[in-house]
Symmetry: C2
Subunit: 426 residues, 2 copies
């Protein structure tokens, strides 16, 4: 008998009606002859409400107690979901992470899954029940309650699907899939029918909020057939799968805008070995993630200029670290631009197509948008732009790669396939 894991996020559970709607999906899958495991998040914005409660009591809550507090949100959801399914005449049982045996390490608020026991879930499924699991939470080996970070219910679902050998993991969202760009910013953005794990991972990493990166990583690791679908209406979503001819056919599958960045620049840094290493070691100590590092020689020919992007919320801490080092090492200055966005073009087909960067730069140039920095990886090209230019840059690049055009998308002008006769130069 096939097994499906279905995950519903907080906005898909915000009201009793929405809970019943999700319950009906699960029941339908059950009636189609599947074993069904549901993973649910906390209702609506209840996690934020719990965080507000905590901050009303304590400015810097101990992480263990924060986990104790926040896990109640998912516990409420599993109980209500079980009630909804039972009230529709089907058997259901809710399970906390502790009851199920989802064991994490002990890193409160950012725990990682270590193992998942099948025993309890299998027993309940064998009795014909729909099993409802609390997302986001775990317990460590000592029975302490942990959480795995915001959005980690996706990870719970995919990891469960992997552990249970599920045929499919369906993640229900307010949107009906992954789009070529954020439809709120790009009106002609289109749903992507099939996307590879690698491309999805890079899109999530670049700022597409559809799925939690760790969930995608788990899906890739355990080869879970993952589908992002709409909780509101019927119809297909986006299948996220191993790389196929289809997913690799296009050089660029999507463009992503990340708007919460700052750009730091260290000016006039003595060009001595170890200085750069010292800067980034100290930033890493403060848990500051650094991206897009560019180093160039200054006009004086003796010193260098080091630029890097960071999350805007880390700007203050970064400035502090850099200022302290500046005073010790005698650089010319520390600059910080807190109005920076990053636009990324992503596609596994990029590996086999030349000219992708050219199309992107050309689109930005035609739109008269200054590029503040560039970074590339095997399947991603990113440009830093001024925040105000972001949405316009996104639309320009989206159009340049032909992502808004209907039908099977064709490689666009200026991009050369590096592979076989199926992809001809246009």
């Amino acid at each position: 008998m096939s097994l499906v894991v279905q995950k519903f996020g907080g906005s898909s559970l915000a009201t009793p009606e929405k809970i019943h709607r999700a319950a009906r999906r699960a029941i339908r899958s059950k009636l189609e002859g599947r074993r069904v495991v549901l993973v649910v998040s906390a209702m609506g914005d209840s996690t934020d409400e719990l965080l507000k409660l905590a901050s009303g009591v304590c400015s810097d809550p101990p992480k263990r107690e924060l986990d104790m507090l926040l896990t109640t949100g998912e516990q409420v959801s599993i109980a209500l979901m079980a009630m909804a399914i039972e009230s529709a005449g089907h058997e259901a049982i809710s399970l906390t992470a502790g009851q199920l045996g989802l064991v994490t390490d002990s890193a409160h608020t950012r725990a990682r899954i270590q193992r998942i026991s099948r025993e309890r879930i299998d027993r309940e499924l064998d009795q014909g029940r729909i099993v409802i699991v609390a997302g986001f939470q775990g317990t460590d080996a000592g029975g302490e309650i942990t959480t795995m970070g915001r959005g980690a219910s996706d990870t719970t679902a995919v990891a469960l699907a992997g552990a249970l050998g599920a045929d499919r993991c369906e993640v229900y969202k307010d949107v009906d899939g992954v789009y070529t760009a954020d439809p709120r910013l790009v009106p002609n953005a289109r749903r992507i029918p099939v996307l590879s794990y690698d491309a999805m991972l890079e899109m999530a990493g670049a700022g597409a909020g559809v799925l939690h990166p760790r969930a995608i990583d788990f899906a890739r690791k355990f080869n879970v057939a993952l589908e992002v679908r709409s909780s509101l209406w019927e119809g297909k979503g986006t299948m996220i799968t191993p790389e196929t001819a289809e997913t690799a056919a296009l050089p660029v599958r999507g463009v992503v805008l990340r708007e919460d960045l700052a750009l730091a620049a260290l000016a006039g840094v003595p060009n001595q070995p170890g200085v750069t290493a010292r800067v980034f070691a100290q930033l890493a100590d403060k848990q500051i993630l650094v991206d897009d590092i560019v180093q160039g020689v200054e006009a004086d020919g003796r010193t260098v200029r080091i630029s890097f992007s960071i999350s805007r919320t880390d700007a203050g801490a970064t400035r502090e670290v850099c200022e302290r080092l500046r005073q010790q090492c005698g650089w010319a200055g520390v600059e910080m631009d807190e109005s920076v966005s990053k636009i990324s073009a992503i596609g596994v087909g990029m590996r086999s197509h030349a000219g992708v960067a050219h199309v992107m730069f050309d689109a930005l140039a035609r739109a008269q948008i200054d590029v503040l920095g560039i970074s590339t990886s095997e399947i991603v090209i990113s440009c830093l732009v001024r925040r105000g230019d972001g949405p316009r840059a996104l639309r320009g690049v989206h159009d340049a790669f032909g992502l808004g055009e209907p039908g099977p998308q064709a490689p666009m002008s200026g991009v050369t396939s590096l592979q076989g006769p199926a992809a001809t130069k246009l």
Copy 2:
């Protein structure tokens, strides 16, 4: 080192300020050199809000899932309390029933404690921490989450105090102790400084909502020194202790009005063996608690009239049971008066004083209040009255027993001590 268990109810935790106030109490006890265990309820009316959520999803929620839902309320409280104590610079740790090892039977929504493990609490106390325990909840032997009924956090506190051999269990309330009568109805009601377990148990049973009856029963069983205190202001509360000369000195310690009753009467019942047993067996099957049963011969001399009081919420179900039996057995009729209150006078001293009933009936007669029924036990006399007469009856009886008078209360006129020379007839 002495150990104190302190229990705070929902209204004492309704806001961050109140949580901090409770935290300061616990910290003060800690600084006085005690080991401190806190037991907390769900904040404010959050249990009612959770029940409302459940009823929005399902008209008759499965009890297991109701327990899964409701226990989140206390889990929120323990986390916030730990945060409040830590933010004041003291170490604290919150524990769910499962983490602590408070094991109940499997009767969801009305579970009973089977055993409490000391191990985890002792370990945390040994490290100098204030331990915060979720009231109301337990886990059964299979790890299923249970609850013990509304108000059962008192029971958690007293049972923990017993299991840990605590020197004292302090229960903090919105009132500063147990009163001779409800001060909202009787303006000259006075706080009772010391009360025996037995009297407190009868007062709770008669409708005084201060403490959960099972908590008092546990206190008596494990000989826990129990104090009801105010969470709002300093000063003594009511000590609840084994019977002493002080607690037995007065015939009546308090009067209690219960206003949610109905009086059922079965008229013209054939006086055959087994008929009465059949009525009450069927009521018990429906979990209907019956009180104050009076049976008398009808005017015809051949049939009997059976009256009994029940909770008003059970009136409909009781009428159904009785009507069905009436049709089978051919009684004359089933009557139901849904506007009945019960006034009870309670005191362990009643055992050794005569004339108590006389004083009570006399007070009611002087106030021209009809008595609809009477029941007595060793330390309680109760009269059923019309609901509209309740508060006036309460004030009259309270005054007749001299309970509103200042200073050490003296046995009142008309009551005779049956013991030694210390108590002389007045």
